[in-house]
Amino acid sequence: MLALAFSGLVAITFGLASFYATDHFGLYASANIAGGSVALAIGAVLGARRARGAGGPHARAVIARGLTRILFCLLLAVTIERVAAWSGVALDFTQERSFEFEPATIEACRALPGLRATLFYDPLDPRVRRTRLLLATLARHCDVETAERVIDDALLDAERFEVTSSNTVVLESGKRFETVGRPSEGTLYEGLYRLRSLDSGVLTVLRGDGAGDLQSYRETGYSGLANALETEGYRLLSIVSPALTAVPDETTALLVNAPQRQLPAVALGAIRSYLASGGRMVALLEPGLTSGIESVLAEYGIEALDGVVVDPMFATPERSALGPSVISNSYETHLVTRGLNRNRMTFFPSTRAFRLRKPQVSDRLVRLVLASHLSWVAESPGALAEGASADAKETRRQYHTIVAAGRYERKGRRIRIVAFGSSRFASNRHLRTLFNLDLIVNAVHWVAEREPEIAIRPKIRSTVQFPLPIESSLATLYGVGLLVPEILLIGGGVVWLRRRHS
């Protein structure tokens, strides 16, 4: 009986092991599980027949008490588990809190009643487990109905929703849908935002004169910024700057993205009259370029300094600069910088600095983003060389303003301007670095007087793609990883030998 049961167990174990190893119920697995089950069942029947002797009244009472106790334990266990599961609590210990949603995501989801999220997946795709957790988290926060479809079983729907690969979520609201590939909180947020189809107004963009191209998908282009602004509900209207004689009436705000040549006087005049009539402008400058926009900004008290800001704060431990890049985590309190703090940094590959002087007492000029107190403005290119130090400073070290905002009232008309000392920080290469996207999009929302839309957006990419130095890992492997088992083995051997001899 025992041998039969033992053989049955071995067969079942090997059958299941082969299934887990191959993920396939082949002949080997099926035969082992079926044969093993039969052997185990026969062994159990034989065992039960042998145990018939334990059928006296006293024995029955003892067994009944024991079984009642087991039943009680089972009930207790199920109750504990169900109560804990019912609570729906999930504690997020991931480094970047991947499963704690930003308020912006929750708000976007809540703004879409009757939302449905369907995950299209391949059963062998390991990424699906994370997406399931994301959807479960979303469902905890807002009214969303979630579903799952295996792609191969739902080819027609997959084609209808333009699903091209596994691990894709389709968000549906009414008859509209958005397909989100590689789901993360960031991509789901953008999908939700597009579904809301907000109309935030018209953003007129100056192009020509070498200005940053919002249609270019190259690393130096700005198509990412254009997409982000369209996602937030802006309609982009491009105007060639040499042909600009008047800013269109429908313009909600004007975006000037670092023209590389002098703008025609007519175009500058058009911008001046647009602002004077209560216009709103976001201006991105770039070190070493003069377009005439600087003079317009200066009229509103935002004076762009020549040269480039050098900030060694995040450079080498010796505090020598690695070039003109600035990583900033100093922000003044303002709606544009709401949500940004010491740990939410912005990156500027190179930037100019501003000096602020209020043209009128009633004007409100604010330094939004600052380089560190160690920064200086270098005018000569030599000061940008790697390893540039304090000796090379050309202006004194201080907090330099690299983004500024102004609010003005002229003849009863309200004017809003945000000026950035850098344009490349919003290029495709750097837009999604750190919190750059939030800064530029929030600035546009502020000048467009769409303050409720100002938010910190969830990040699309994972932030855990950092290397771990291999030398350090090797040292740890030798120092701890191998040493601990070695000591255990020696210690165990000594203890066992001593006991054996004693």
Binding site: V62, R429, Q465, L468
Partner: protein, 262 residues
């Protein structure tokens, strides 16, 4: 309480008096270190390969999503260590009750002032303590490596908490198997078979109704500890392992009743 303390002391002494305990500790610590280092090495190599061939650096969005610490290190390490525990834990639990039975010392134990419940409690405590020690020892290297890299220490703690709970769950199953036989080999074999069976009922799903499949899914080990690799702790998952230990306690206690009636 004095008798219970004496039982615990005796259990610890007999556990660490055998080479099996030391070998298991060594094996799990060594396997953890090698698996972890291997995945860390592969992760670093791929990361640098992508960063250097494109000359784009780490901010250029050219590194594929799947090359990250979770998918390339934490998750596979947890999967492989889970399977290692599945093999190792029944080796620890096989002797706990069956050895007493085969030697007849369980009768002696019952003749002391200890109740069967206390005996079960004492043996469970020592076994759970041992598997927790096993995971703590194997945690030292990964924790040191991650801490030196300045990354995700809390996430790693959660990964090992999940593994420790899995080890406790497997120990609960192993103790039940050990309590119903006097053969250590059969106890180990039974422990492996039960653990494999409870590991994941995904394979049964095509043959049963949806409702029954969801019940089977709820009692499977793998989905329960899988969430820990994501850095997520749900009270439901923790309670599942506690529930497993409670049921195991009841079953082992029942084995003492069965002994009384023959």
């Amino acid at each position: 309480m004095t008798a219970l303390r004496a039982l615990i002391r005796k259990e610890i002494a007999s556990l660490f008096g055998t080479p099996t305990a030391w070998l298991t500790l060594t094996m799990v610590a060594l396997v953890t270190a090698l698996i972890f280092f291997d995945h860390l090495r592969l992760y670093n190599q791929l990361l640098f390969a992508y960063a250097s061939t494109t000359m784009g650096g780490f901010a250029s969005d050219t590194i594929p999503d799947y090359i990250n610490l979770w998918d390339m290190v934490f998750f596979p390490v947890m999967e492989q260590l889970g399977l290692t525990l599945l093999g190792a834990v029944p080796l620890v639990t096989m002797r706990v009750f069956s050895e007493e039975r085969s030697r007849g010392t369980d009768e002696l134990l019952l003749s002391t002032s200890l109740t069967p419940g206390q005996i079960v409690l004492g043996k469970f405590a020592v076994t759970f303590g041992f598997v927790a020690l096993m995971m703590a020892v194997s945690f030292v290297y990964p924790a040191t490596a991650i801490e030196r890299g300045g990354l995700g220490a809390m996430h790693l703690v959660v990964v090992f908490a999940g593994l420790t709970l899995l080890a406790i769950g497997l120990a609960s199953i192993g103790l039940v198997c050990s309590a119903f036989t006097s053969s250590q080999l059969l106890a180990a074999m039974l422990g492996w078979a039960m653990a494999f069976l409870l590991w994941d009922f995904g394979w049964v799903q095509p043959f049963v109704s949806e409702g029954f499949a969801s019940v089977l899914d709820a009692i499977s080990l793998h989905p329960r500890y899988g969430a820990f690799s994501e850095g997520i702790v749900s009270p439901g998952d923790v309670a599942y392992f506690a529930a497993l230990a409670i049921v195991a306690f009841g079953a082992v206690r029942f084995s003492f009743d069965l002994r009384r009636v023959g």
